[in-house]
């Protein structure tokens, strides 16, 4: 081995060592600042982590676009939803008076709220777009209780990192990080345009997450669980979830 190639060899060795330890440090920092999504493993992990980290670095508190009233779609699109089960029909026949939303997990005061309880919280109305992962979209006015109002009233514990939310339909749930859960536009929606939220659009209660694709806005929400780990509830990696195979983070 001549002198130059030895120097090159040593330089390359140092560069590799620096690169590897740099990556290790970057990974620690990324974990600490919440830049790593729960589906960061596997062949699509690097791309998914880059997208999520970029959005959390540059768009953590940004607001989804809101539109003027004139841009509300004349015909919104309900998309296909499974027919409601018997339990849903029973609640529907009672005008959803018995509908309950429970708030559980890492909160100081777990509660169970009826729709009229929910309406005692501050109301927010926002005109935002539903963006389906398939490519279509529409704009509607969504009215409801900001999720952060309910979470704050329940006292979210400091170690909370995720919110898991469940539909009344079996095996329909998803999770978001605590940033999106406390985001001012994340809305427990009970009304749409000029009336109650229609069942086809997720009524009586849908969690709207306007900075992410439509599949994160789960319909017929009955249960919220605040946790420190989304393990077991990452739609993307659980074969039981309707979002199985879809990326967990859908801000893109």
């Amino acid at each position: 081995m001549n002198k130059i190639s030895r120097r090159k060899f040593v330089t390359a060795g140092i560069a590799t060592a620096a690169g590897v330890s740099g990556l290790a440090v970057a990974s620690k920092l990324a974990q600490r600042y919440g830049l790593v999504p729960p589906d960061s493993r596997g062949i699509f992990g690097p791309g998914e982590t880059l997208s999520y980290a970029a959005h959390r670095l540059f768009s953590r508190n940004s607001l989804a676009r809101e539109f003027p009233r004139s841009m509300i779609s004349k015909v919104p699109f309900a998309n296909a939803t499974d027919p409601p089960d018997d339990e849903f029909k029973r609640l529907q026949s009672g005008g959803f008076a018995d509908w309950r939303l429970s708030v559980e997990g890492m909160v100081a005061h777990p509660v169970s709220l009826s729709l009229s309880d929910l309406k005692t919280f501050p109301v927010r109305s926002q005109i935002t777009e539903v963006v389906c992962e398939e490519g279509w979209s529409y704009v509607a006015e969504w009215i409801g209780t900001p999720l952060h109002e309910v979470l704050k009233a329940s006292g979210v514990l400091p170690q909370a990192r995720y919110l898991v939310y469940f539909s009344i339909q079996p095996d329909w749930w998803d999770s978001i990080d605590i940033d999106d859960a406390l985001h001012p536009q994340t809305l427990l929606t009970y009304a749409m345009n000029d009336g109650d939220l229609p069942v086809s659009f997720g009524g009586p209660l849908r969690l709207r997450v306007p900075r992410q694709l439509g599949y994160k806005s789960v319909k017929f929400v009955t249960r919220l669980v605040v946790t420190d780990s989304a393990k077991g509830y990452v739609g993307a990696i659980d074969p039981k979830s309707p979002n199985y195979g879809y990326s967990w983070y859908a801000g893109i």
Partner: protein, 244 residues
Amino acid sequence: MSPADSLSNQGPRHTALVRITHWITVLSFAALLVTGIELIISHPRFYWGEVGHSQMSPLFRIPIPSSRSTVPSGYGYVLPDQNGWSRYLHFEAAWALLITGLVYLVFGLRTRHFRKNLFPAPPDRTWSAVARVIAKHLRLAPPDEAEARTYNVLQRVTYLFVVFVLFPLVIWTGLAMSPSFNSSFPWAVNVLGGRQSARTLHFLISLSLVVFLFIHVAMIVLTGFATRMREMIIGADPVSQEGT
């Protein structure tokens, strides 16, 4: 730089930087194309403005079956949903393309790659020079010695257009479909005329990249596939090439 200067340059036809970034781009583009087609299948209709869905009239539609029962495709069957891995791979490949593009841009500027190899040489910056090259193509004349070592004005303008116009536009229109990106940079989608306009433009620009790809590959086949591939893979020093 005159063609004679290029001839006296005895380095490889393409630098290592160009070769490596070229092939990473090929892989990324292939992944983006396949997954892009797959994503279109879930809604092969295109709209203009902010919103659009199955119950609105499209700007145009592609007459193919769809992977969603809610899309009136006219076919009696629904294709399987492949959007999960398609979207994962689309964005992962987009990151690879973006990072490769930035490396190419920075090193291309530092090594004066764009000025030396892509900006038309001063004598070629005339319409008559362009006309001469087009006439030569129409006669199907083989490339002369100088052209084997450098790009003619038509190639240079095309590559510059692809690198500095089409790729930036396709990245921009792609980002303009991201609800989170739009929350930080609403102007990026608003100036395009809305989200559905961004989607339609993304499709049309991708289509023009595919047209470029077909012409690019056709020209490589016509001018000597083996030689061109050797140049882009190992750099192929012209001296060692003389016997071929």
